[in-house]
């Protein structure tokens, strides 16, 4: 009995497929989801989302969000998500640089702006980390 994994962002549904297992980066550490899991609603941290499907393994980087597991369906609600293969390293590095520069003037920024930029950084670092690990 496979799992149905769905990842949606405000801009659209980015992933929808049946998979065997999913590992989610939650606020309290990674949890692995197998079919028949108890229903859970949990907060996600920016990080790596690993998917096992048959013999192939896929990795996705996702931003902060939520995940709902109910009846063999895993729904992930995130602000951003991207497949590892689609990560453009230089673009991400640029994003990190821009965010870092903006954060240098932390005192002048509104607190929610700081929080938003930190969110950008977390997502960017998660992407870079994954991409490099995959290559190394």
């Amino acid at each position: 009995m496979p799992l149905l994994l769905e990842i949606v962002t405000p801009e659209g549904r980015v992933y929808s497929d049946t998979v065997d297992t999913v590992v989610l980066p939650t606020a309290q550490g990674e949890i692995g989801i197998l079919p028949g899991h108890l229903p859970v609603l949990t907060q996600l941290e920016a990080g790596e989302l690993r998917v096992q499907k048959g013999n192939t393994q896929e990795s996705l980087a996702c931003g902060r969000g939520f995940a709902e597991i109910a009846g063999d369906k895993v729904s992930v609600l995130a602000e951003q998500a991207i497949n590892i293969a689609a990560i453009d390293e230089s673009a991400v590095e640029n994003a990190v640089r821009r965010a870092e520069e903006a954060l240098k003037e932390k005192q002048t920024l509104a607190p929610d702006e700081v929080e938003r930029l930190e969110g950008v950084m977390r997502f960017a670092y998660a992407q870079l980390d994954l991409k490099r690990r995959r290559r190394g």
């Binding site: 149905l4 769905e6 949606v8 962002t9 405000p10 801009e11 659209g12 549904r13 939650t26 606020a27 309290q28 108890l38 229903p39 859970v40 609603l41 949990t42 907060q43 939520f66 709902e68 109910a70 009846g71 063999d72 369906k73 729904s75 609600l77 602000e79 929610d112 938003r116």
Partner: protein, 305 residues
Amino acid sequence: MNRHFQPSAFGASSTRDIRRRIKSVKNTRQITKAMELVAASKMKKAQQLAVAGHPYAALLCDMLAALSHRVERLEHPFFAARPVKTRGILLITTDRGLCGPLNSNLLRVVTEIQEPTKYVCIGRKGTQFLGRTKRDLVADFTVSDKTPFAEIRPAAEYLIKLFLDGEVDTVEVLFSYYRNTLVQVPLLLPLLPLVNLEESIERVRKQKGAGESAVKRDDREMLFEPDAAIVFEALLPLFLNREIYQCVLDAKASEHSARMVAMKTAKDNASKLLDSLTLEYNKARQAGITAEILEISASQMAQSA
């Protein structure tokens, strides 16, 4: 061609005038036609964007629905209904004109509001109107045609902050609701306080066609991590942001379809005008020729007599 026409009752001056008008009407038709095409393609994009966000909204609603009867939520400030002293209204208009009665319909709703109200504006037309009529405009935001989520967020968060600080006692959104290409109606949508969350959730679901619940429901007890209240609190602002984002998307789709329809009407009118002008021009030309022949034959008869 000009030399064929002698000055007479339907002389060169009147045909020249007509030709000048034909030329200018042709130009107008060309411009309106181009604008119609541009608006049509933008409308299509806006519609796609509005549809692309539906799965997100549906999932968000599912999560909130699962949580809503688990959490003691009266403590959360979003649910605290206070006596309304000042209303807070987010007015979403277009940046540019030439879109039919869209903006004037919205602004008529504004003129009917008598209570003290603080306005937040998206779109230049609304800002100008509020400034002209000396209403209390506290902030305005600009949103580009692509309408990325990131551009709406500051506006949404600002509104929520106004509400939490007690500056305003309600948060409402006034925008043109996109019913279809021909019909857009001004809609005043109350967002805060969330008097009835279930109702809001139900409304969003209905909009999305609600075909999502086909998936087998799980009736086992749901676990919440780290805990239900924290998740609920984190989800609520997302829900509001998303609602406001959807309103802006709707407004954009309305704008482009209203402009498309207005431009199509203008183009059709120009074509009609062009037809009648061409007819008039031909008549004038024919009258000129007839007059000429008359003159020639009259002088001939005078000579031979």
